[in-house]
Amino acid sequence: MNDFLLFVVLPYLALGTFFLVTIQRYRQRTFSYSSLSSQFLENKQHFWGSVPFHYGLLFVLGLHLAGLFIPNAILSWNAEPARLFITEITGLAMAVVALVGVVNVIVRRFNFSKARRVTTTSDWVIYLLLVVQIGSGIYVAIYQGWGSSWFATNAVPWLWSLFSLQPDVSYIASMPLSVKVHVVNAFLLIGFFPFTRLVHVLVVPNHYLWRRTQVVLWNRDRRRIRQAK
């Protein structure tokens, strides 16, 4: 029963909230979509928090997504022990980088009164969830080794069973506690995501790479003004 609540109800609730609220928020409160950077208020410690956190997390998240979408490719890459080691060690290292980053972020937000001034309750909740998430991930990586392989064989089928609306908790029920904490916390993060500044992830400015240099907007249709006479 607990498994059903944690690994079926919670994920659906979290994903449902994620999609409904982010879309509603984007449509009705567009203004609130911002990274809410505090670099302007404290410019030095900011580097040692923000940069390792983001790059570390992006790398680890990328590995998770690769496992989710191309599990077989990951498995065949891991078939060679040396390559398995490489995946595991780099993943772990980047997770540690992310953890160092988020701890620095928290210390900075706490220590610098100007940065603390713009830190909201939802920010503190995110920091807590992130520390639990990255911390439990590192614990799993160390004590439940070769996660890059068993994630692809055991956890990914469960995720796909969720996505295909035929939830099968048997994959996840036998997992050790540390993995379950990691999973439950992940869905808490996803469910909480749309109410926080994390939404800035959804508006990363990819188009800067290919848009025209200058942006000029005309309110009037000039041709029609001329032709109207």
Binding site: F40, Y208, Q214, N219, R220, I225
Partner: protein, 487 residues
């Protein structure tokens, strides 16, 4: 836009007008979309002109015009921490006073005082910097010596500026330049900044801004500001709600010295890149070349073909900016070497007349007509660095012409300069008597309507084009329909 610095009295009325209307909110408390600097001086934010440090604006790299530090290749990898972002310490930490202590303090032997507290944290603050902290400190070794434009000046020129008996300075009001080639617009990863086609006003879409902070670094004039409370950048909007209804922006309207002129210019936008790539010394002339003669039948025909309304062509013909910048060659852009092609032009100020007293009578130092300009307390080289990217000749030209106009007026009103001398001065300054009259009138006698020639916004057209006008019936206001809250 033209700011006639010879008339600026440094009263800061413009700054206050702007502050009271636009930036009296939390998060904008430290912003001065309009500020008045003392030159020589460090400015606001401190040493903003130092692009070795701030890396704003454009540069020519490999034959191409590129953003100095905020192009995609630099911004995207540095998006988590912008290395060229100024912090609040480069501006100042806004503060207020704990006034309630004056009333609530318990009875005692001492007078109660109101201590300064930070407007960010509410904590006690030791005030170390503020707006116009170096106001009037023209010769100060602490503040004025920080001026970036002093670098590279010959030692004797530097000494000349700091000799206490000859101490001089002038005021330089600054707002957003609404550049032809804005670095802030080009640098915004979200594309939230844009230049309006109709009137060239550069605006920042508050809903599109995601706080990537690139614009703050990119603007070499540091005229985009980060609102620390809403997490969005903000900038001077040239009071567009006023301009659209035919009123001058608040800072222009309130200017006590009447130094500000507003009018539109017709220019060829296809030539922007080629112009911005010129060598430093050619930049001002190249930008002036881009500005088209609104009386030229060919230009008028082309403007019409491009959909410019007759009323806009008419205001371009009457534009005081066109006269100052193009016809008379008096208006010069600030730090054009940043290559944003600023659309705010400054008429460089004359320094006080040099004279000595001998036996109780005052006499001029030299018989040379323009000796005052060459030996001015604020040296031409200094102003050349500010207004002409080092091309001193352009500053000299503008100063000589202004000086010649003064001599003519002196002849006409006081009479102690004879006509012949005045005419010789005009001739040497390449100025006809009619031109001198026109300069005098627009400088000294100009009415409101002469100074502000605002093209009609034709909003009625815009509304018709975009929406059903009936949809707007009974609706009011503009801007937010939701409170600008953080999250």
């Amino acid at each position: 836009m033209v700011f006639h610095l010879d008339k600026c009295i440094g009263c800061h009325t413009c700054s206050i007008a702007c502050k009271n209307i636009w930036t009296d909110r939390e998060g904008t408390d430290y912003m001065w979309w309009n500020n008045v600097e003392t030159k020589p001086g460090g400015g606001y934010p401190t040493r903003w002109e130092d692009q070795v440090n701030y890396k704003g604006g454009w540069e020519v790299r490999g034959g191409k015009l590129r953003l100095k530090s905020t192009g995609p290749a630099r911004v995207i990898p540095n998006i988590f921490h912008n290395p060229t972002m100024p912090s609040m310490d480069d501006y100042y930490e806004p503060w207020t006073y704990k006034y309630e202590d004056l009333f609530n303090a318990p009875e005692g032997d001492d007078q109660p005082t109101a201590i300064p507290i930070s407007m960010v944290t509410g904590e006690y603050i030791d005030v170390e910097a503020g707006p116009n902290w170096d106001d009037d400190f023209g010769g100060s070794p602490v503040y004025a010596e920080n001026d970036v434009n002093l670098e590279g000046l010959p030692e004797e020129v530097r000494q000349q500026m700091f000799e206490i008996q000859r101490l001089a300075f002038f005021y330089m009001p600054r707002i957003c330049n609404h550049c032809m080639n804005p670095a802030c617009v080009a640098s915004c990863p979200s594309g939230a900044l844009y230049k309006r086609g109709e009137d060239g006003i550069v605006l920042l879409n508050q809903k599109g801004c995601r706080a990537w902070r690139s614009c703050v670094s990119a603007c070499p004039y540091k005229k985009t500001y980060f609102n620390w409370s809403t997490g969005k950048s903000e900038k001077c909007i040239l009071c567009y709600p006023r301009v659209e209804t035919g009123q001058a922006p608040a800072c222009f309207h309130s200017c006590v010295g009447r130094i500000r002129y507003l009018g539109n210019l017709l220019y060829d936008a296809d030539r922007i890149e080629e112009t911005a790539k010129q060598d430093d010394l050619d930049l001002v002339d190249a930008q002036r070349d881009m500005i088209l003669d609104p009386h030229d039948p060919e230009v008028i025909a082309q403007a019409k073909a491009n959909g410019i309304a007759d009323s806009v062509i008419k205001t371009a013909q009457e534009s005081p900016v066109y006269k100052f910048v193009k016809e008379w060659g008096l208006g010069l852009p600030l730090h054009t070497e940043f290559r944003t092609l600023p659309m705010l032009f400054y008429v460089p100020p004359l320094s006080p007349v040099l004279s000595t007293t001998q036996g109780g009578t005052v006499r001029n130092d030299s018989d040379d007509l323009f000796a005052d300009i060459e030996k001015a307390r604020v040296p031409i080289q200094f102003m050349g660095k500010l207004f002409a990217a080092g091309n001193d000749g352009l500053v000299r030209y503008a100063l000589r012409k202004q000086y010649a106009v003064r001599m003519l007026r002196r002849h006409l009103t006081v009479g102690d300069i004879d006509l012949e001398t005045a005419q010789r001065a005009l001739q040497e300054a390449e100025c006809t008597q009619e031109e001198a009259d026109a300069i005098y009138k627009l400088t000294s006698l100009a009415t409101f309507d002469d100074r502000f020639v605002i093209p009609p916004a034709q909003r009625e057209m815009a509304i018709e084009m975009l929406n059903d006008p009936l949809e707007h019936k009974k609706s009011t206001g503009f801007g937010f329909r939701e409170a600008p809250q953080r999250s």
